[in-house]
C-alpha cells in the first residue's frame, strides 16, 4: 500500500508542475498583450534604446570617471561649459552661448544660457560653473584637472547668474578647448570638503543623479545594467526616446546574439570577426542589423627605450632609474630604419582586417583640427632596401657573419627585447609581423608576451628595448602631447623621451592665444616626434558599431564627428536626441518566453508517466511477494 501511495504522490506533483506551467503561460501572454498595447499607444516617440556593452561602469562621480561607459553616462547627464562641435569637436555654443577674449588674451568672458534648470528644478547659473571649476582646482580633482590649466589660471568667477569670467596669468585658448569638466550642482554638493566630494557616489538607489543634460541616471544595478530617463526640460529640446539603457555582457558573442534576437538595440563592438559576420549577414538581408564603421579614435604604438642617463637632457627619473635599454636604439638611424621596415598597411589589412588606417602622428585623425598629416616628402613608407641602406650608411655591418648586424660602437649583435601584451587580442600577432620585417633588415628581436602588470613594471623601470601598447586620446591634444615631455618620464611617458625643444613647444601651445596659433605649434610638435621617432604610431583602429535598423531611426544622419563619425555619439549628446522608433516598430523588446514552459511541461509529463508506471509496477510486485 505504501508504494502505491508514493506513486500517486509522484503523479500528483507532476500534475501540479503542469498546472503551474499553464498558469505562468497564461500570466505571460496576458502581460505580453498589455505591453504590446502600451507600445502601440506610445507611437514613434518613447521607447527604450538599449545598448549592449562589455565594459563595466564603476563610478558616476564626474571627478572619478575613467572608463568609456562612465563618460557615456556623464555626457548625457551633465553639461560642459561649451559643447563639442558636431563636426569638428571644437568648442560650440552650449551652456555658454557666446564668449569673448580680451585683447591681451588673458580674460575670457562667457555668456551663460539664461533660464536653465537642474533636473531637480533648481536654477542653473554661472555660479554653479564657477563653483565646479574652483572646487576642481582647489582639491586637484580628477582626470581632467589639466583642462583648467592650474599653473596659470588666476581666477574663475561668476559676476552674475549669466556671466562667467576666467582670467589667466598668460594668454591662452584653454577655456575653449573645451574644458572637459562636467558642471555639478552647487546646491547639492556645495558644502562638501575635498575628501567628501571625491567620495560622493552621485547616484544612490532612489536618488537619481542630478545634472542638467538630456538624460538622468535613474537606475543602476551594479555589474548588470544602468538606465537613464529622458529629461523633458533639457535646454536643447526633449529627446524622442523615453529611456536609454545599457546592459553589461561578458563576451561579445553573447552580445551579438542578443542584438540579433532583438534583446538589445545597439553595440560598439571590439571584435573584428563578429563585426564582419554581422556585416555579411546584413548585406545578404538576413538580419535587421545595420553595421557602421566609425572614426579612428585610438592608436597602437611601438615605443623605444629612450632613457639615456648619460645625456645632459635626461629626465631626473631616467637618471635615477637608468634601466636596461639597448644604447643602439638611441641612434636615430636605427629607429628610422626600423620605421621604414614596418608595413603599416599590411598591419591594417591583416591584423585589423582593414578596419583602421596606417598610423603617422600621435594626434589621431578624428581630432581633425589638430591632427598633423606628414607631407608626402616626409611620410615614412615601407621600403626594406631603404631601411637596409640607412643602417649601412650609419656603419652597421654584420661583422661576425651570423646574419645579424653588429653595433659599430660595441660590436654587439642588434638584438632587441620586444615586449608584447598578452591582454591584447592582437599583441602577439603584431609582434610576429614586425619581428619578421626586422629580421629582413638584419635586426633580431627577442619577443616576450606578458601581462599588463609585467609590462607596466618593465616600462616604469625602463627595463625593455621596445614594446607595443596603445592610447585613446581626447579630442583635445594637450594630454597626449604632454606624454612626450621630459617631466612625464616615470608617470605617463611611453619612452622617457626628453627633448628641451619639444618641452618648450608644449608650454607654448598651452599659452597660445588663439586656436590657430596653437594648431601651428601642435603640428610642429607632431612633426618633431614623427621625425625623431621615440615611438612609431603603427595604426589608428576604427570603432565598429551595429544597431537594429528595423526598429530605430535617426542615427545614420547624425554621426559625429564628420565625416566618419560615431553612430551613437561619444562626446556629444546629438544622436541621443535624434534617435527614435521607426514608425510602426514595437517598443517592447523581443525575447523568448515559451522555452521554459515547454521544458516544464515535458518534465511534468515525464513525472506523471513515471508516477503511473510506479503505481502499476509496484502494485504488481506487491502481488508477487504475497
Amino acid at each position: 500500500m505504501r508504494t502505491v501511495r508514493k506513486g500517486l504522490l509522484v503523479s500528483l506533483s507532476g500534475l501540479i508542475i503542469v498546472l503551474l506551467a499553464a498558469g505562468t503561460a497564461w500570466a505571460q501572454s496576458a502581460s505580453a498583450k498589455a505591453s504590446a498595447s502600451a507600445s502601440a499607444s506610445a507611437g514613434d516617440s518613447g521607447g527604450t534604446f538599449i545598448e549592449g556593452t562589455i565594459n563595466n561602469m564603476s563610478t558616476v562621480n564626474p571627478w572619478k570617471a575613467i572608463e568609456s561607459p562612465e563618460y557615456e553616462v556623464l555626457a548625457l547627464n551633465f553639461d560642459l561649459l561649451e559643447n563639442f562641435d558636431k563636426s569638428t569637436l571644437q568648442a560650440a555654443p552650449g551652456v555658454a552661448t557666446s564668449w569673448t577674449q580680451s585683447p591681451d588674451g588673458m580674460t575670457w568672458t562667457f555668456d551663460i544660457r539664461p533660464g536653465m534648470t537642474w533636473q531637480d528644478g533648481q536654477p542653473f547659473t554661472a555660479k554653479d560653473i564657477a563653483w565646479t571649476y574652483n572646487k576642481t582646482l582647489d582639491c586637484k580633482l580628477g582626470n581632467s584637472l589639466d583642462y583648467l590649466v592650474p599653473e596659470f589660471t588666476k581666477s574663475i568667477t561668476a559676476p552674475s547668474d549669466t556671466q562667467l569670467v576666467w582670467t589667466t596669468k598668460v594668454p591662452t585658448s584653454a577655456p575653449i578647448r573645451p574644458p572637459w569638466v562636467y558642471i555639478a550642482p552647487e546646491h547639492i554638493y556645495g558644502n562638501d570638503t575635498c575628501d567628501e566630494i571625491s567620495k560622493e557616489p552621485f547616484f544612490t538607489e532612489g536618488h537619481p543623479m542630478v545634472g542638467s543634460g538630456p538624460f538622468q541616471l535613474t537606475d543602476w544595478v551594479k555589474g548588470q545594467s544602468w538606465t537613464m530617463t529622458a529629461n523633458p526640460n533639457y535646454w536643447g529640446g526633449a529627446p524622442h526616446i523615453s529611456q536609454f539603457k545599457v546592459v553589461l555582457y561578458d563576451n561579445s558573442e553573447a552580445m551579438v546574439n542578443a542584438l540579433k534576437a532583438g534583446e538589445i538595440d545597439y553595440t560598439n563592438l571590439g571584435s573584428v570577426d563578429l563585426f564582419n559576420q554581422l556585416q555579411s549577414e546584413s548585406q545578404s538581408g538576413s538580419t535587421n542589423i545595420t553595421t557602421h564603421v566609425g572614426p579612428a579614435v585610438t592608436f597602437g604604438q611601438m615605443s623605444f627605450n629612450m632613457c639615456d642617463p648619460t645625456s645632459p637632457d635626461a629626465a631626473a627619473y631616467c637618471k635615477n632609474n637608468p634601466g636596461t635599454g639597448n644604447p643602439a636604439l638611441r641612434d636615430p638611424a636605427v629607429r628610422t630604419a626600423i620605421s621604414w621596415a614596418i608595413d603599416r598597411q599590411t598591419i591594417v589589412d591583416k591584423v585589423l582586417a582593414g578596419y583602421g588606417e596606417p598610423g603617422t602622428t600621435i594626434v589621431p585623425p578624428f581630432s581633425s583640427f589638430y591632427h598633423y598629416n606628414p607631407t608626402p616628402d616626409e611620410t615614412i613608407g615601407f621600403d626594406i632596401n631603404k631601411a637596409k641602406q640607412i643602417l649601412a650608411d650609419a656603419g652597421y655591418k654584420d661583422t661576425d657573419g651570423n646574419g645579424i648586424l653588429n653595433d659599430p660602437k660595441t660590436g654587439q649583435d642588434l638584438n632587441f627585447r620586444f615586449i608584447l601584451r598578452a591582454e591584447s587580442d592582437i599583441g602577439a600577432r603584431l609582434g610576429q609581423y614586425i619581428s619578421g620585417w626586422l629580421k629582413q633588415i638584419g635586426i633580431a628581436t627577442t619577443s616576450e608576451v606578458v601581462s599588463d602588470g609585467k609590462l607596466s613594471q618593465a616600462w616604469l623601470s625602463n627595463d625593455y628595448d621596445m614594446y607595443i601598447w596603445g592610447w585613446g586620446p581626447d579630442p583635445d591634444p594637450d594630454f597626449i602631447l604632454s606624454t612626450f615631455t621630459s617631466g612625464q618620464c616615470g608617470t605617463w611617458s611611453d619612452t622617457c623621451y626628453s627633448n628641451p625643444q619639444y618641452d618648450k613647444l608644449y608650454k607654448e601651445q598651452q599659452t597660445a592665444a588663439t586656436p590657430q596659433d596653437r594648431q601651428a605649434i601642435v603640428f610642429k610638435m607632431q612633426d618633431i616626434l614623427y621625425k625623431d621617432i621615440p615611438e612609431i604610431v603603427l595604426y589608428y583602429d576604427k570603432s565598429l558599431e551595429a544597431y537594429n535598423s528595423q526598429k530605430w531611426t535617426g542615427l545614420e544622419d547624425n554621426t559625429s564627428p564628420q565625416p566618419d563619425g560615431f553612430l551613437w555619439n561619444q562626446y556629444t549628446p546629438y544622436s541621443a536626441l535624434t534617435v527614435q522608433l521607426r514608425s510602426g516598430a514595437s517598443a517592447s523588446s523581443g525575447g523568448t518566453t515559451s522555452g521554459l514552459l515547454i521544458i516544464v511541461g515535458i518534465l511534468g509529463a515525464i513525472v506523471v508517466i513515471v508516477g503511473i508506471v510506479m503505481v502499476a509496477r509496484r502494485g504488481k510486485s506487491e502481488e508477487d511477494l504475497a
Binding site: 505562468t24 586637484k140 567620495k199 555589474g223 548588470q224 553573447a254 599588463d452 523568448t592 521554459l596
Partner: protein
C-alpha cells in the same frame, strides 16, 4: 570521547589550512604580482591622472605601507570577514555587500543544480550498477562519458546555439530581460534566463556522480557479505537498500565534497558564457579590472566554502563509517 577528539583534530587542520591559504593569497595578490598595481591600472584604463594623484590612490589602496604591516592588517581583515571596500569595480562600496548580492544569484544555481546532478547521477548509478549492461545502463554510460569529458563552457555554448540562437526557446544570456518585467512575469522571466545555465551545470556533473556511484556499487556487489546475504535468501531489493547502497555511497560522498571546488570553478565559466551576474562573474570582473579587494574576498570565501564542504564530508564519513572515527 573518540568523536570529540576526532572533531577537534579536524577543526585544527581546517584552521591551519585556512591560515596557509590566506598567506598564499597575500603572496599571490600583493607580493608576486608584477608591477605597481596603480600604474598598471591607470595605464590599462586610460586614467589621465598626474603623479601626485596616482600617489593619492596608492595611499587609498593601502599600498604605501611596508609589506609586513600590509600582511598583518590583511590577516586581521580576512579572519574577521571584513573585506574592506572595493577599489575599482564600485569604489567606496563594501565588498561584502557586493559579494552577497551576487552570491544569492549564484547560490540558487549552484545548490539546485548540484542537488539535481547528485540525485540524477546517484539514482542512475544505482540503477546502472544493479542492472549492469541493461539498456538504461548502456545509454546512461555513454551519455555520462560524453558529459563528463565535455568542458562546461562547450556544453553551455552548444545549448545557446540550439535552444537560444536557433530554437529561440530561451534567452541567450543575462539574469533577466533588459526591460524588466513585474510580478509573476518577473519570476518566470528570471527562471527562463536561469534555465540554460542551470541545465549546463547540472548535466556537466551528472556524468561524474553516475560513474562513481555505478562503479562503487559494482565493487560492493562483488563483496562476500553480499553473496552471504543473497545466500541467506534476503530479497534482492533489501540486499541493495540495506547492504550494498550505504557502503557504496561512501566514495560518492567524498566526491561530492571534492567536486564542490570544481563546481565553484565551473560556475565561473558558465556564468561567463551566459553573462549571468553571479559570484563567478564578479571574480572575473575583479581580475580583469584589478580590484584586489574584491578578488581577495572571492578567493578567500571560495576557499572557506571548499574547506567547509570537505569538513562536512569528513563528518558524514565518520558518521557512516565508525572505523574512521576510531582510526
Amino acid at each position: 570521547m573518540g568523536t570529540a577528539k576526532y572533531l577537534l583534530g579536524k577543526l585544527g587542520q581546517l584552521f591551519i589550512t585556512l591560515i596557509l591559504v590566506l598567506s598564499l593569497a597575500f603572496l599571490l595578490f600583493r607580493v608576486w604580482q608584477p608591477g605597481d598595481p596603480v600604474a598598471t591600472w591607470a595605464k590599462a584604463s586610460g586614467a589621465k591622472l598626474n603623479a601626485e594623484q596616482l600617489d593619492q590612490i596608492r595611499h587609498e589602496w593601502g599600498l604605501d605601507v611596508p609589506l609586513p604591516r600590509q600582511y598583518v592588517s590583511y590577516m586581521g581583515q580576512m579572519l574577521t570577514f571584513n573585506f574592506g571596500t572595493s577599489t575599482i569595480l564600485n569604489p567606496q562600496e563594501s565588498v561584502s555587500s557586493m559579494f552577497w548580492s551576487r552570491m544569492a544569484k549564484s547560490a540558487i544555481l549552484i545548490v539546485t543544480s548540484t542537488f539535481a546532478a547528485i540525485a540524477i547521477g546517484v539514482l542512475l548509478g544505482i540503477y546502472g550498477g544493479w542492472k549492469r549492461q541493461g539498456k538504461v545502463d548502456q545509454a546512461s554510460m555513454s551519455s555520462s562519458m560524453i558529459l563528463y569529458a565535455m568542458p562546461e563552457f562547450v556544453l553551455g555554448m552548444i545549448f545557446i546555439l540550439i535552444f537560444a540562437a536557433t530554437l529561440h526557446w530561451f534567452p541567450v544570456s543575462l539574469y533577466e530581460s533588459p526591460i524588466p518585467k513585474t510580478g509573476l512575469s518577473h519570476w518566470t522571466d528570471v527562471i527562463n534566463h536561469m534555465a540554460l545555465p542551470w541545465l549546463t551545470l547540472t548535466l556537466a556533473y551528472v556524468g561524474e556522480f553516475y560513474l562513481v556511484m555505478r562503479s562503487s556499487l559494482l565493487d560492493v556487489l562483488g563483496e562476500e557479505y553480499i553473496a552471504l546475504a543473497r545466500a541467506k535468501g534476503v530479497r534482492e531489493k533489501y540486499v541493495l537498500r540495506k547492504h550494498a547502497v550505504p557502503n557504496a555511497l561512501l566514495p560518492t560522498i567524498t566526491l561530492v565534497a571534492l567536486s564542490f571546488g570544481f563546481i565553484l570553478s565551473g560556475v565561473i565559466t558558465v556564468e561567463l558564457v551566459f553573462s549571468y551576474p553571479g559570484v563567478g562573474k564578479l571574480s572575473v570582473d575583479a581580475l580583469r579590472q584589478r580590484d584586489f579587494a574584491v578578488l581577495q574576498a572571492t578567493f578567500v570565501i571560495s576557499v572557506i566554502a571548499v574547506l567547509l564542504a570537505n569538513f562536512i564530508a569528513d563528518l558524514t564519513y565518520a558518521y557512516l563509517d565508525p572505523r574512521v572515527r576510531r582510526a
